[in-house]
């Protein structure tokens, strides 16, 4: 009788542990998917905000004889805004990393359980470029962060990312450990069927100096819109 009772208790416990693990796998998968998607969405928002800040000071700049030129009264504010944006870039990167943590924790997973298996897509991916700015009546200045170069090569694909969430489920005499993987990408979301976009879109940020201008116009970023998509 004692053995039967003990066997029943063990079977009951095992059954309960298996059910808890079954529920846990689903929760871990949601946490992985949503944490990654959240981080990529925040990256997309950050890129759009950076582009907006850049456009605010870069609009009066034109290309003259292969060099950048701006009206003299605007040069001090352009220089100040460019430097401020360059200094703000690490903050935008921190926001992406923090989004991953906040979303994982909101979905019931501790940050220490999250491993970045492919972190390329989770980097802001912008590099501030120093360039010369000339103006009539003023000496030519070297300005940090005058334009920003994207570090991803394909304009349409701002990067893939993958994470894995480790989940421990208690069982009789120990714990089952399993991991929930998630993959996602941040894509350029401009309408590439649009004639204007197809003609001079550059992924929102230029990959090099050549693609930072259109004829005499200095237009380093064109159509900076992004969308994060989960991948199977």
């Amino acid at each position: 009788m004692m053995m039967l009772t003990a066997a029943a208790m063990i079977v009951g416990r095992l059954c309960s542990d298996m059910m808890v693990a079954w529920v846990g796998t689903q929760r871990a998968q949601t946490a992985a998917d949503f944490a990654l998607l959240s981080a990529l969405r925040v990256r997309g928002q950050s890129l759009e905000t950076v582009a907006m800040r850049r456009d605010a000071f870069a609009a009066p700049i034109v290309v003259m004889g292969g060099a950048l030129h701006a009206p003299a009264p605007l040069v001090p504010s352009i220089a100040a805004d460019a430097v401020a944006l360059k200094r703000a870039l690490p903050g935008y990167q921190g926001r992406i990393s923090s989004a991953l943590t906040v979303a994982a924790e909101a979905n019931g997973v501790d940050r220490t359980s999250v491993t970045q298996t492919d972190s390329m897509g989770l980097r802001l991916g912008l590099e501030a470029q120093t360039d010369f700015l000339s103006s009539s009546g003023l000496p030519t200045l070297s300005i940090e962060g005058l334009w920003l170069r994207r570090l991803w090569s394909d304009a349409a694909d701002a990067g893939h990312a993958a994470i894995s969430v480790a989940w421990n489920s208690p069982r009789l005499g120990g714990a089952w450990t399993f991991s929930a993987p998630a993959r996602a990408r941040l894509g350029w979301d401009a309408d590439t069927h649009d004639v204007a976009v197809a003609a001079d879109g550059n992924g929102g940020f230029p990959g090099d100096w050549v693609s930072a201008s259109v004829g005499p116009l200095f237009r380093p970023g064109r159509y900076p819109v992004y969308r994060a998509n989960a991948l199977p």
Binding site: G12, R27, F34, S38, S98, E105, A106, R227
Partner: protein, 126 residues
Amino acid sequence: MRRAIRGSAMVETALSCLIASALLSGSLYIGKTALASRRSHALARHAAALKAAGVPLGLIDVEMSDYSARLGGGMVWTLGRYDRSAAARFYRLTEAVVTADVAVPPIAGGGSRRLTSRAVVEEDRP
């Protein structure tokens, strides 16, 4: 002597039946709870994804009613902004909370147990 042995066997059989029925009842309850938990979580995940993608609330309610009905019904959901942690206030996190009541068998005290599932994701276009 024979009567005593027969009596003891009957007691053992009765106890075995009792343990077996308790085990069966407990297993069924655990299974039902796990199933309800998974279903409510699936619903929460679905709702959070729809809301974060910018689907209008009316449409989400229709979709959720349909999905809930297909999963067996009896679930209640709320949608809102997640701001339970200080850091979360710097983001636009959409939260979907789904509750489901699971009946507890009389052998375990009866009544019902409320399960809560939450899914949180950043909005696509704030």
